[in-house]
């Protein structure tokens, strides 16, 4: 299918910063089954968390600077480039510093628009416009879908995506108040899973629209939906995520059989993983490709996490392998979704990336490696 593409949305370059390090470090460690989750307390909350490998990255400016070399922005044209900032809360430290110590914001305000402007300056990107996408924990995937639509419709020729969400007192106390956090660490799809683990995360990606070469990874399709079910909880049926995945496949003109693996949202909350297993089963009718979650290794980095995980999925696609799901031992969902503590061989050269967020938001992205 992908060999016949004349023009496509090409993932030119990407980079991430996670609790396991850079993209290369993260992917290498994921395949070793490593986990960067550490015990609590986390900002006074008695829960495990996954802090950046280099804690200085928790500052938006330092993370943006560290990600700058990951893309080649030298040929970007201001009039045809869009910069898309994807975050749930981003770097909320100016809000905390003001309330805790009376320190007035200097570099940027807690508003996402201000964070985006600041990050764009640090990245020194020539982009005529900035779009700030905040679709909860699906922000990065929604950003990729918006970018893809802009490129295909000709509204942009290049799209730079930046995702950033740092662990903070704000986020840790909030998820703890919702009883969503695991005391010992996330165990996606495992029978003993007891909640998610907050993680730091940042990612950058450059998308263009051109004729792809063999070996290029392309954003073949994207789709999204809403559960219309609950403010913070996932639907019990998985219908919303199923519809988003189906829309992404339709956008990519691919059938479920064409999908070689699934990068799950896999937060390790009881209800997310149960919902996701139902959605995956509805899509593949038990003819499952290998499935995995990275959140048992690097935690859940909110809106930035979904962009970060798409970058990781692209690297896994190049290796034609799904990484082990750290924290997983015994399947704890009703459906026989093939999650494994060992690497699995992808059955094809396309990967479905699933994301979901508060407010019932679901987003799915299909990546394909051009043959």
């Amino acid at each position: 299918m992908t060999a016949a593409l004349r023009t496509a949305v090409v993932l030119e370059d990407c980079g991430i910063l996670s609790s396991l390090g850079t993209l290369e470090e993260t992917v290498a460690d994921l395949f070793e089954g490593a986990s960067a989750i550490v015990p609590g307390p986390c900002f006074g909350v008695p829960v495990a968390h996954a802090p950046f490998k280099d804690v200085s990255w928790r500052s938006l400016g330092i993370a943006a600077e560290a990600l700058t070399p990951c893309i080649d922005a030298s040929s970007l044209d201001k009039d045809t480039t869009a910069f898309i900032f994807c975050a749930a809360k981003g770097d909320i430290s100016p809000l905390e510093a003001y309330y805790e110590s009376g320190i007035r914001p200097e570099a940027f305000l807690p508003l996402l628009s201000s964070q985006a402007d600041y990050a764009k300056k640090i990245l020194n990107i020539a982009a005529g416009r900035t779009i700030v996408v905040s679709d909860a924990c699906a922000s990065g995937a929604t950003g990729v879908e918006i970018g893809r639509d802009m490129l295909v419709s000709g509204r942009a020729r290049s799209v730079v995506l930046l995702g950033f969400d740092g662990i903070s007192r704000f986020v840790a106390t909030g998820f703890h108040a919702l009883s969503a956090l695991s005391p010992a660490g996330a165990r996606p799809f495992d029978a003993s899973r007891d909640g998610l683990t907050v993680g730091d995360g940042a990612a950058i990606a450059l998308l263009t629209y051109r004729e792809p070469f063999a070996g290029d990874v392309v954003v073949a399709g994207a789709g999204s939906s809403n559960d219309a079910n609950h403010r913070t909880g996932p639907s019990r049926t998985g219908d919303g995520l199923f519809r988003a995945a189906k829309a992404a496949l339709a956008d990519a003109a691919l059938a479920p059989d064409d999908i070689g693996g699934v990068k799950c949202h896999g937060t390790a909350t009881k209800y997310n993983d149960a919902m996701e297993a139902k959605a995956i089963t509805s899509l593949f009718c038990e003819e499952y490709p290998p499935c995995f979650s990275v959140k048992g290794a690097i935690g859940h980095a909110s809106g930035a996490g979904s962009l970060l995980e798409i970058c990781v999925a692209a690297e896994c696609l190049r290796r034609r392998l799904a990484p082990p799901t750290a924290g997983f031992e015994t399947l704890g969902v009703d459906e026989l979704v093939p999650i494994s503590a060992k690497p699995q061989i992808l059955r094809n050269h396309s990967m479905l990336c699933l994301s979901a967020g508060f407010g019932g938001i679901n987003a799915a992205v299909v990546l394909s490696e051009v043959q």
Binding site: D79, R104, L109, P110, R129, F170, N226, G357, G359
Partner: protein, 256 residues
């Protein structure tokens, strides 16, 4: 390609405008921030009074635009939202609860700019794609661009496109607000590609440039107030809208 404007709503300092007419605020109501459930929805909805300001404004605008309407395909009805001030006031209320030692789970769940669409999607059963943009002053214009894109790409059969600005008076003077105005307003447009079953019978053609205009005024409310005035009065017209991020030509014409 032109798009049918099925319905509209505006919550402004002067009152509430919708397909059923204009209703000024009651005596003692200061404006959109004081909107009551009975002014926008003729059924009980106990959650309304508990919604944070931005969520309340979005729900109110959606309810005025959707009043009495039957949506044919809810699975493919999308919601886009432009919310320039994001969830600033809600963030401040949540942080105050943290500092007080009792982090509020209810307020925390509303500290996402996308929170404002959750109640609308649930109450009205709208299961299509969502796009929430929280950028500079013309996020509503970008949300409208994304709504048009969803219709053109057939990713949605109808879109409820919302534009909300919510900064509580007590927060505007804070250094955290960076000079953001203390104001509350909300707009809604229900758009579709197909002929509907009555309604405003106006057609919208919209083109968006790849770049904005530096130094252009960036207040959504200017463009949306004018856009909704033309729809309400069923008058044709062209609006040239520009912000630092996007420029647009919005043309309205009466349906043939």
């Amino acid at each position: 390609m032109s798009i049918r404007v099925e319905s509209f709503a505006a919550l402004l300092p002067q009152g509430i405008a919708g397909p059923l007419g204009i209703r000024p605020w009651d005596e003692g109501q200061a404006g959109p921030g004081d909107v009551r459930r009975d002014q926008v929805l003729n059924k009980p909805y106990p959650a309304f009074g508990k919604l944070m300001l931005a969520d309340r404004l979005a729900f109110a605008a959606a309810s005025v635009a959707l009043a009495g309407r039957t949506i044919a395909n809810k699975d493919s009805t999308a919601i886009t939202l432009g919310i320039s001030a994001g969830s600033l006031s809600t963030d401040m209320r949540y942080m105050e609860s943290v500092i007080a030692g009792f982090p509020s789970p209810a307020i925390f769940s509303a500290t996402l700019p996308s929170s404002a669409i959750a109640d609308i999607a649930i109450y009205y059963g709208l299961k299509g794609p969502n796009r929430v943009v929280a950028g500079n002053g013309a996020s509503g214009l970008t949300a409208l661009e994304l709504a048009v894109s969803l219709l053109k790409t057939k990713k949605a059969s109808a879109v409820l496109s919302l534009c909300v600005y919510a900064v509580e008076a007590q927060d505007a003077a804070s250094p955290l607000a960076g000079g953001a105005a203390a104001a509350s307003n909300a707009f809604a447009l229900l758009l579709s590609l197909q002929p509907g079953n009555g309604g405003t019978a106006m057609r919208l053609s919209a083109s968006f440039s790849a770049v904005g205009k530096e130094g252009a005024p960036a207040r959504d409310e200017l463009y949306f107030t004018e856009l909704i005035r033309l729809v309400r009065e069923q008058k044709g017209g062209i609006i040239e809208a520009a912000s630092c991020d996007v420029a647009a030509t919005l043309s309205l014409a009466k349906e043939e």
